[in-house]
Symmetry: C2
Subunit: 414 residues, 2 copies
């Protein structure tokens, strides 16, 4: 039988307007990989009775319950007590855990406050899960229907514990399933046009589960398939994924979920032994900073000009004052001249230029706010694309950056 899980995040600070529980995302990812579905998540403050009730109710609904937080040394840290109370078990001192704690403080050359011994208390029957990054051990408690796990709150303590301690123990509880994800990263198409194009394909299937994630100018389609065997899961991802890939071909820039658009561009530049320079007006350095985010970007990124004013277009790039006056700084000819100048002045094989109206003021009736001219200069000449999208400064700049990188990507692909 498929197991279901509930996740409880413990901590009053997670009930403020500033903080969300993000631990549950990492936990959910791992559980899904095991074929365990998360059916509910809860955030509860540091309050003994409410927390005990939350554990009791979750244990009634789900075979697997995972809590994070509230394992610290202070009186406010009530997860151990509440879990024990909900299970009707004792809370015991663990001499082994006390020894580990005392040794840890000795190694750090710090006196151990007495209340830290609370962290050595284990729920009756619990296995301690090692915490190399903190003083609170995790706890894994087998129950008649499944398991209850207690994890520390800080992500750098929780995440390795989930991967190294919790998941191996849960494997024994959960029937095996193979889960794989196929990902398409997409730019140059809007979310509704994308959904219209592929919904006829994916809505026929409940397995894989298809999710569309949307960032500014950057969409991700994820197919998550789950089958008893690896062959079945691979077959399913081909059956559903290939028609989607076919339909979106020109918009997909990678199937690698971890590779951003600038990463694809950098990889293509290396592959072609090509380099790039930038001349940015309204994006103000965003393209250069995206490209230099990549380790080793000096292999392909040569240099960039941020020419925000007309005076700097003249001084830094040698654009003629007459051209700027005749055509205006936001024009096809100026975008062309900027790309040419960036290429010739740096000796890069390719150059990108951007000039546009990011708002909130500026623009003309022909070229209203949001109009951006993107230039690309390369061995086979220079061309300019005019785009218009976004209606606030942040979106206009993000979309212009994304469009410029995509223009370079498509140019490199021929």
């Amino acid at each position: 039988m498929r197991k279901r899980a509930e996740i409880i995040a413990v901590g009053t600070e997670l009930l403020t307007p500033e903080r969300v529980d993000t631990n549950s995302l990492a936990i959910t990812g791992h559980l899904n990989q095991l074929g365990v579905e998360v059916i509910a998540k809860h955030v509860v403050g540091d309050e003994r009775e409410r927390l005990t009730d939350a554990f009791r109710q979750a244990l009634e609904r789900a075979e697997i319950v995972i809590a994070s937080g509230g394992l610290g040394p202070t009186e406010d840290d009530l997860t151990r007590e509440a879990a024990a109370a909900a299970l009707g078990r004792r809370l015991d001192r663990s001499l082994e855990q006390e020894t580990i704690l005392i040794r840890r403080f000795r190694d750090l050359n710090r006196p151990m406050p007495d209340n830290n011994l609370r962290q050595a208390q284990l729920v009756e029957g619990a296995e301690a899960m090692e915490n190399p990054n903190g003083t609170a051990p995790g706890q894994f408690i087998s129950t008649s229907r499944g398991a209850l796990a207690l994890l520390p709150g800080p992500p750098r303590e929780l995440e390795p514990m989930v991967a190294n301690e919790l998941i191996p123990r849960l494997r024994a509880v959960v029937p095996p399933q193979v889960i794989k994800v196929r990902t398409f990263r997409i730019t140059g198409i809007g979310e509704s046009a994308l959904d219209e194009a592929i919904a006829p394909i994916y809505t026929k299937y409940t397995n894989p589960v298809t999710t569309v994630l949307s960032a500014i100018g950057d969409l991700t389609v994820q197919l998550r398939a789950q089958c008893p065997t690896e062959e079945e899961v691979d077959e399913l991802l081909i059956e559903v994924g290939n028609p989607i890939a076919e339909r979106l071909r020109e918009y997909i820039y990678t199937e690698n979920a971890a590779e951003p658009l600038e990463g694809v561009v950098g990889r293509l530049l290396r592959l072609h032994r090509a380099t790039v320079a930038t001349a940015e007006s309204c994006t103000g350095g965003m393209i250069a900073s995206r490209l230099t985010e990549l380790a080793g970007s000096s292999d392909f990124f040569v240099g960039g000009f941020v020419t925000y004013s007309e005076a700097q277009k003249i001084a830094m790039l040698g654009i003629s004052a007459e051209l700027l006056r005749r055509e205006s700084a936001v024009s096809e000819k100026v975008a062309c001249a900027m790309a040419d100048a960036a290429r010739s002045r740096t000796g890069a094989t390719h150059a990108l230029s951007v000039t546009g109206y990011a708002g909130p003021t500026g623009g003309t009736s022909d070229d209203p706010i949001g109009t951006v001219y993107l230039g690309i200069a390369g061995p086979s000449g220079t061309r300019v694309v005019r785009v218009r999208h976004g209606n606030d400064r942040y979106r206009i700049r993000m979309l212009a950056t994304q469009s410029a990188l995509n223009l370079l990507r498509r140019t490199l692909l021929g």
Copy 2:
């Protein structure tokens, strides 16, 4: 008596590893302003029985229960049914809401699918809350102890409804309280050093509630005070906030929660009728792009050079090849020359330069990865600061950007 609230986010998509419920943050902010404390939050999938149970249990624990999501037109949208079932009330067709829906579709010139009429069903006794941005009305249901509210899931529908429809109705249910927040935005000090400095002050008070939020190189201290009158709340924020402001004086760059560091720098530049240019190596345009994020930045930002390679430091800034060879590109003298050149070539009153080792390769034994030289040139001369922090490329670049902007801020303040 103080009222307590629980928040339920409805939707299976919120139980995936990619999505967090963020609606609850906006709702919590508004509730806190009314003096209502959120005691628990839940995420539940689109499953009738689980959702009904979640409503029933939340209504037992809290006077106010607020749900978001699940008000769409499809069979999966079960919030209305579940809320009615949990309260033991009927679900009624509302002719008024049906009329509004039909009119809305007619105005959009789109045929209305029959299932959309589900959105016109109201829980017995509910008041509809207007939704100018979508087809699902919200519902406000008075209960014997308080209220239950149903809100649509999309933030652009939910957020105006909370502000304009929900909060005015809740005011009638909740005894009045004045809440104010005092915020300090801080850079140039680490989180633990900050906490050590101010914990002796704020830990004496449970009102205001003090929260420290941490981003890379950017900390925020928030004091949230709540009292029956405005005078009391103001007095309290002075009593606790002033000693904190005193202690952190040199690190606080603004008390305006909405003003980022580049905003403060832009404001100071305008105030001094000064301008800035940049010459960036390892930050690759991040400083320029932060400064040009601000609307109207052409008032104070002149231009920027992204000189990622030695060749471009020579070509774009005229740094001498001999200096680069003798001192290396990451050095005090080169940072100084870069700032001077950016200033003289652009005519800006001030120039910032950055050169450093962002990793993952590079560095020397004297200047290991993470070492960054920041230069600032201005009317009273040029100076260079050496910083070293961060251990991955992303953090090193972020911290260098933040430090450079802060250097300019402090220079402008004298």
